[in-house]
Amino acid sequence: MTRVREVMHRGVITCHLQTPIKEVAQIMDANRIRSVVVTDDEGAVCGIVSLISILKAWGKDLTKITAEDILQPYTVTISPESPIEEAIKLLQKKRIEHLVIVSPEGRRAVGILTTFDVVQHMAGMQAGTYRSSIDWKD
């Protein structure tokens, strides 16, 4: 049985509640990621800012709107030890792209699981190995 921890990313990229959206967009651009986990002063997870939530600020002054204004509150939890099927059901049921994996104590983010990670797992590819796993010859 595949478990969440075998597929998830360890570590997450975070911003603070008061980070301006302009900066959140720059974090996404620089790291080539599609979501940033928002934390409070204690480092506890408050929510997640996704691409769609940033688009809500299109046409507005991006330096005045903060992560707190547009974040999707963090409600869905999953443990690294859960079966991956459970995570897939959650991703589908909630129609979300990312699940934050939180440590049981202190609500600290320890990792993230995205739909793309699952697709990569299904493709039978680990990051960086795709060149050898596809037969390019006819």
Partner: protein, 141 residues
């Protein structure tokens, strides 16, 4: 003049056929680092779209035997290159989708000519100066 879709869309789209296996669709996504593949029929017309999330439907099935036609989302949301960008973004937000397939305003209407993706839009927001994001551009002399 409002900003138009053509200014930020990517020309060309990644496609597969109705009979492409899901394993291969997943590989197309990983190799190209995209979250969508447009499914086309024998006339090269859009039959649907497969997103990263829709591939999850095939979890637990035989990925070599499951085909694109089994899981595609048939109601592909499309727009044209000359649509105002603000309207296209409104549509993406309303439907909570990350990709809009761009079709030509002239026949053949059902062929994908490009993609507007949420990630390209956010990159634009990250790199632009404040005035670039207003929907009305300053008239240049």
């Amino acid at each position: 003049m409002p900003k138009l879709v053509r200014e930020l869309m990517r020309r060309g789209a990644l496609t597969c056929t109705l009979d492409t296996s899901i394993k291969e669709v997943a590989q197309i996504m990983v190799v190209n680092r995209t979250r969508y593949v447009v499914v086309t029929d024998e006339h090269n017309a859009i039959a649907g779209i497969i997103s990263a999330r829709s591939i999850l439907k095939a979890w637990g099935r035989d990925l070599d035997k499951t085909k694109a036609k089994d899981i595609l989302l048939p109601h592909t949301v499309t727009t044209t290159p000359d649509t105002p960008l603000a309207d296209a973004i409104k549509e993406m937000k309303r439907r909570r989708i990350q990709h809009l397939v761009i079709v030509s305003a002239r026949p053949p209407h059902k062929q994908a000519v490009g993609i507007l993706s949420a990630s390209d839009l956010v990159v634009h927001m990250a790199r632009s100066k404040p005035k670039d994001l207003t929907t009305k551009r300053e008239e240049k002399r």
